[in-house]
Symmetry: C3
């Protein structure tokens, strides 16, 4: 195992920012997939799967770099946690998109589009925040906003559940839709986990 | 980040005991919610949500304290694990109560009340055990009893599943009930995780 | 707490190999359970539950040994992670077998048998790989093959989901089958997690 003692051009901050930027692309693909006609969704799902594989590669690159670097800019367990958390966000978004195609869902309720809009916003501000880990400055706005967005996602999720279980909906449609909105809710929770970890890191490193 | 070198009045033991005490209140609210007439459940669910927010605050306080304390009474990763585990117990209990209202469930099977009685007992003995972390003494009875209680919860859960899938029950009712009993089972598992961690800590620190 | 400074006859490598070997037995039991007539499944499920308890004991033995050993052959957090990961594999396999009996499922689709064949293969190569942790040599074939097997499992899983939701299947049957294939998919994911951790360990220790 070669030890890197001299910094390379690509730093952990760059790698984490890169992973977060991939989430912006992923959330955008997911949004377009949901809005597309069912017949047009398959290629978008394939793109989303590719995006998830690329995100996986980024995560592995960070892990490899962690194993080869003796001195890290902040606690290596936290770098690992961030990489892992960002990876979870992508996994859940890809899962949601995959199920929409697999389950041959038709039109989705408006609230589902709202859930995905929240995820797009989460991805944007996460990508904007990652570079600020260098200075550990001006991060509070980020985690405060993520917490607000996650509350919004949670409200949409709960309203969707209430609608689904009000009665009158075919059980198979409830099953399909529930798996999808569960995956979207899990994605929102993952964005919040990343923000909580950033808050912890900022507190420790201040 | 201000380092606290002199101990403050509220110790980690006090904070963990406080978190565990909140679980007693939460389990009690959950029990009353399940026993209430459907029309009377909403305010109890709101109280349970407040209890979950308060538990969240307690968990955050422990995390903040961990980041500011140089010397901890035992392994800081274990203090983190306990705080996190106690938080999971409350999250699952609140989720169960929330779904009972969201899904507009009517009367619940007796076995569900039995699951919640087990959770109340788990919360009580967990709250009693936390202060004994100071001395690391007389903790074996606690984790042995939690393991016994979790086995009881597991039996109730499996019998409920068998009943639900025996046939004759409306699929929508099965879906509603399964989500609720899954959350209660997850709460029981979380209490067991906390007890397992206490056992590990006691072994390490003895 | 007695510190063991002199190595005992049973090393961590032996213990991890033992845990992995238990997975071979568990996967075999699961395979026979699925293939059996419904009337003959109960005793096999009981054997599988015993296998899970034995695996639990093995995991606890590794944790106890970790708490008593000052110098470990590789990072103790990774030994913990491996033990924990192997335990997850058994838990998910036992859960799948338990649900097949609890839900009184009849004949299972061929693809479910295929999922279990993949798990049997995962267990075999995991058991073969564990002893090679001593030398950290010739492990790449193992994790590469596990990744290939997990992709196979994933394909079977997704095809099963597509079939279940195509339409025409009774919602209760979908519910039963989904829980079972979810548990089998979780088992495959757990085998992959173990392999990913072995890859990380091999990279660190090389």
């Amino acid at each position: 195992m070669r030890l890197r003692l001299t910094p390379t051009n690509t730093t952990f901050f760059d790698l984490l920012a890169g992973s977060a930027q991939q989430l912006v692309g992923g959330a955008d693909l997911l949004s377009r997939l949901l809005a597309a006609e069912p017949a047009d969704r398959k290629p978008l799902a394939a793109e989303l799967r590719d995006a998830e594989h690329a995100a996986d590669e980024s995560t592995h690159e960070i892990m490899r770099r962690l194993n080869q670097t003796f001195v890290t800019p902040f606690d290596r367990h936290d770098i690992y946690g961030l990489a892992s958390g960002l990876d979870d966000c992508m996994d859940h978004m890809e899962e949601a998109g995959d199920l929409v195609v697999l389950y041959q869902v038709g039109t989705l309720p408006n609230r589902v589009h709202k859930q995905v809009d929240v995820l797009r916003r989460c991805a944007e501000i996460t990508a904007e925040a990652m570079p600020r880990l260098r200075s550990m400055k001006d991060l509070a706005d980020y985690w405060v906003e993520i917490n607000r967005l996650e509350n919004e996602a949670d409200k949409s999720y709960r309203k969707l559940l209430a609608e689904m279980f009000r009665g009158g909906m075919d059980p198979m449609d409830v099953l399909r839709l529930k798996d999808i909105v569960d995956a979207l809710e899990a994605a929102a929770d993952s964005f919040e986990s990343v923000a909580n970890l950033v808050e912890t890191i900022a507190l420790k490193e201040s």
